[in-house]
C-alpha cells in the first residue's frame, strides 16, 4: 500500500522534450515508473525513447490513458501547464518547476478548487512509492521499498538525507512526498498526514519542515486531534536570520512568525518526537518506530 501513487499510476511528462524533462523522464522510466506519454505543444507526433509526445494534456489522457502529470515546464509557463493538466483530466499533478511567481500560484490555487486533481508542489522533488513508482527528481536507489514509514517534507535534498538515514537503519518507506518550498503550494502537510494516517501499511510518519509560514504549527494541531501513529519531526533553519529568504521562496521569518523555535515548540507540545540533531535522525527513528 501507499498514498497517492503506485505501480498502476500512468504518468505523462509535460516538457518531456526539454533538457530537464528528458533527463528525468528517462530516470523515472529506468526506475520502473509507467511513463506513457509526453506533452510538448507543437511537437505532437514525435516520440522520446519510444514514449509518444502529444500537443496537449487532453490528447495524452485520451490516447495514452495517463492519470498523472509530471511537470518540468519553465516558470513563465508553469502556471498555465498546471491548469491545463487539471483541466485535462489527470488525478495527480506533480510540479517540479522552481520559481513560479507567487501571484500565478495564488490564481492556480483558486482555479484548482473546482477541480478534482491533486497538485503536489511546485518547487518540489516529487513523490515516490519505493519499488513501484518514482514521479520526480529524487535519486531512486536511496529508498527502501515496503514501508512501514511515510515521509513528508518541504525540502528536496534534505528529504534525501532523511530517507537515506532511514534506509541505513533498515527502515523502509511506504511513500515519500516533497510538498515543495514555495509559499503557495498544492497538497499540504495535513493532506499527507491524513492520507498516511488512513493507510494501513504506514505505521509511522517522518515530517520535515522549515522556517516560514505556519504550516507546521497547523500540522501539529492536526496530529494532536487525529493521528494515532508515531510522528518524528525535524525543522530546518534554527540559525536562519529573520527577514532573509533562505533559498526557498517560502523560507523566510517575518517578524516573530515562522521561526524554527516556534515550530519545534508547537511540535513538541503535541507529542511529536522532534529531532534536534539531523545527524542522529535515523537513530531516533529506529528508537521510535
Amino acid at each position: 500500500m501507499s498514498i497517492f501513487v503506485d505501480k498502476n499510476t500512468r504518468v505523462l511528462v509535460q516538457g518531456i522534450t526539454g533538457r530537464e524533462g528528458q533527463f528525468h523522464a528517462r530516470q523515472c522510466i529506468a526506475y520502473g515508473t509507467q511513463v506513457v506519454a509526453g506533452v510538448t505543444p507543437g511537437k505532437g507526433g514525435q516520440d522520446m525513447d519510444g514514449v509518444p509526445v502529444f500537443n496537449s494534456v487532453k490528447d495524452a489522457v485520451r490516447e495514452a490513458k495517463a492519470n498523472c502529470s509530471l511537470i518540468f515546464v519553465p516558470p513563465p509557463f508553469a502556471a498555465d501547464a498546471i491548469m491545463e493538466a487539471a483541466d485535462g483530466g489527470v488525478d495527480v499533478i506533480v510540479a517540479i518547476t522552481e520559481g513560479i511567481p507567487v501571484l500565478d500560484m495564488m490564481k492556480v490555487k483558486k482555479y484548482m478548487k473546482d477541480k478534482t486533481a491533486r497538485l503536489i508542489g511546485p518547487n518540489c522533488p516529487g513523490i515516490i512509492t519505493p519499488g513501484e513508482a518514482k514521479i520526480g527528481i529524487m535519486p531512486g536507489p536511496i529508498h527502501k521499498p515496503g514501508g512501514p514509514i511515510g515521509v513528508v517534507s518541504r525540502s528536496g535534498t534534505l528529504t534525501y538525507e532523511v530517507v537515506h538515514q532511514l534506509t541505513q537503519q533498515g527502515i523502509g518507506q511506504t511513500t515519500c512526498i516533497g510538498i515543495g518550498g514555495d509559499p503557495v503550494n498544492g497538497t499540504n502537510f495535513i493532506d499527507c498526514l491524513d492520507a498516511f494516517n488512513k493507510d494501513d501499511t504506514t505505521k509511522g510518519i517522518v515530517m520535515v519542515g522549515e522556517i516560514g509560514g505556519t504550516a507546521e504549527e497547523e500540522a501539529a494541531q492536526f496530529i494532536k486531534e487525529n493521528v494515532k501513529k508515531p510522528v518524528v519531526g525535524f525543522i530546518a533553519g534554527l540559525t536562519a536570520p529573520p527577514g532573509r529568504r533562505m533559498g526557498h521562496a517560502g523560507a523566510i521569518i517575518s517578524g516573530s512568525s515562522g521561526t524554527a523555535q516556534g515550530k519545534v515548540a508547537a511540535m513538541k507540545d503535541v507529542g511529536i518526537h522532534v529531532c534536534e540533531d539531523l545527524g542522529r535522525l535515523g537513530e531516533l527513528c529506529a528508537k521510535v518506530f
Binding site: 507567487v102 501571484l103 540533531d277
Partner: protein, 386 residues
C-alpha cells in the same frame, strides 16, 4: 527585490496614486533647487536607503527655510545612517528625496501583501499610522483590519468600503481614497509586488489622501516579466558577495560566523548551518549551489566563500542525487587548485557515485578532510576552527 522610496513614488504617479510633490537629489545644490520649486516651506528632506527606521536614525528632517534645507541636505547626504534594519555598520546615504511639507490631519497605516495561508491578497490597514506595525499587531491586534481579496475575482466595492469604514474615514476622504485603493491593487497585481506598505498614509486638512511614505517590494520570481523594475535595482544597497553570487545563479547569504559552507538544496543548507551551530561553531554563510549544480558552480561558490575574510574553515555537504559526487569532487579539486585554499576543508558526500568522488578527492593530493556522515563532518569542522 527592494526599491527606493523615490522610485516607488515614481511608480505610484504612473498609477495616479497621490504622493507629495518632490524629486530625488544627489547633491546639496540639487536638493536646494528642488526645495525652491515646491511652493514654500517647510519641505522634508529624506535619506534614500532601503532600510526602514530612517526617521529615528536622523535620516528624515523638516526644513523651514532655504538655508535650513541647504544645511540639512548637507548633513544627511553622505552620512552613515544607522537604523534597526541596517545593522551597526550603517549605510551611506547617496541620494535624498526632497518633498513639500503637508498639513497632516490624520496618519494611517496601509499595506497590501500576498497571504500564503489563504492564497489571497490581503489589504491591512490601521488607524495607528506612523507607528511600528509589528508592535501594534502584538499589543493591540484589534486595531488592525484585514480585508482578503480572491486574486481571480479582484477588488470589489465592498472590499473598499470595509477598508474605508474600518479607518473611520469621512465621506470626503472616502471619496478621494476609493479610486486610490483600486489603483494600489491594480499596481500590486500588474507588477507582482510582494509588499506595498505606506506608513503613514495621510489625510490632509483639506481631506485629501496622500501616500507620504512608500515601500514596495517585488517577487523575485516574477522579475522576468518586469524589465522596467529590474532597472531600479541599486547594487549599492546589496552585499557585494551576494551580488556576485547572484551572477552565477548561486543562492548565497552572508552571515557572521567563521565556518563557510556549501550545500546542494536550500533545506539541507539550512539544516547544515544548524548542525554547525550544534557542534559549537557559527556558520559564515548560507550557500545553496542547487540540485543540478555543475563543477563550475562549485568553483564559483568556493571563491565567494573564501572572499569572506572571517572564514576559517569550510564544510562541504553534498547529497548527490542530480549532482553526482564525482562531478562535485572534480569541482572541489579544480577550485582548490585555482584559488589556493588556505583554510581547512571538510567534505561530506553521499549519494550517486560517492566512491568515485571520494577517490578523486583522495588522489588530488590536497589537504581535504573526509567525513563519514553529517555529524562527523560538523564536529570535525568545528574542531578545526577552534
Amino acid at each position: 527585490m527592494k526599491i527606493h522610496e523615490y522610485q516607488a513614488k515614481e511608480l505610484f504617479r504612473k498609477f495616479d496614486i497621490p504622493v507629495p510633490q518632490g524629486s530625488p537629489a544627489s547633491s546639496v545644490d540639487e536638493a536646494v533647487n528642488i526645495a525652491k520649486t515646491l511652493g514654500g516651506y517647510p519641505v522634508v528632506v529624506k535619506a534614500q536607503i532601503h532600510a526602514g527606521g530612517r526617521g529615528k536614525g536622523g535620516g528624515v528632517k523638516l526644513a523651514k527655510s532655504e538655508d535650513e534645507a541647504k544645511q540639512i541636505a548637507g548633513e544627511i547626504l553622505g552620512m552613515t545612517l544607522v537604523t534597526h534594519q541596517t545593522g551597526p555598520e550603517g549605510k551611506e546615504v547617496k541620494k535624498l528625496l526632497v518633498e513639500q511639507g503637508l498639513d497632516i490631519a490624520k496618519e494611517l497605516y496601509f499595506s497590501i501583501l500576498p497571504d500564503r495561508a489563504t492564497a489571497k491578497v490581503v489589504i491591512m490597514v490601521s488607524e495607528a499610522g506612523g507607528m511600528d506595525i509589528e508592535k501594534v499587531a502584538d499589543e493591540t491586534p484589534e486595531k488592525i483590519i484585514k480585508v482578503y481579496i480572491d486574486p481571480l475575482l479582484g477588488i470589489q466595492g465592498y472590499h473598499i468600503r470595509e477598508v474605508c469604514f474600518g479607518l473611520n474615514m469621512s465621506p470626503a476622504a472616502m471619496k478621494a481614497f476609493t479610486p486610490m485603493l483600486r489603483n494600489f491593487y491594480k499596481m500590486f497585481m500588474a507588477y507582482d509586488c510582494s509588499l506595498v506598505e505606506i506608513n503613514p498614509l495621510v489625510v490632509t486638512g483639506d481631506e485629501k489622501v496622500i501616500a507620504l511614505d512608500a515601500k514596495v517590494n517585488f517577487d523575485d520570481s516574477a522579475l522576468f516579466r518586469h524589465k522596467d523594475i529590474v532597472e531600479y535595482r541599486d547594487l549599492d544597497e546589496e552585499d557585494p558577495l551576494e551580488v556576485e553570487a547572484s551572477q552565477y545563479n548561486l543562492n548565497y547569504i552572508n552571515l557572521d560566523g567563521n565556518v563557510g559552507n556549501m550545500v546542494n538544496g536550500a533545506g539541507l543548507a539550512m539544516a547544515t548551518m544548524d548542525i554547525i551551530k550544534l557542534a559549537g561553531a557559527e556558520p559564515a554563510n548560507f550557500l545553496d549551489v542547487g540540485g543540478g549544480a555543475s563543477a563550475e558552480m562549485v568553483e564559483n561558490g568556493f571563491r565567494i566563500i573564501l572572499s569572506d575574510p572571517n572564514v576559517r574553515g569550510i564544510l562541504i555537504n553534498i547529497f548527490g542525487g542530480i549532482l553526482r559526487c564525482d562531478v562535485l569532487a572534480e569541482g572541489v579539486v579544480q577550485a582548490a587548485k585555482k584559488t589556493g585554499i588556505k583554510v581547512p576543508v571538510v567534505v561530506r558526500m553521499e549519494g550517486t557515485n560517492v566512491e568515485k568522488g571520494r577517490q578523486i578527492l583522495a588522489d588530488s593530493g590536497l589537504n581535504l578532510t573526509t567525513a563519514v556522515d553529517l555529524k562527523d563532518a560538523a564536529n570535525k569542522v568545528a574542531e578545526l576552527v577552534k
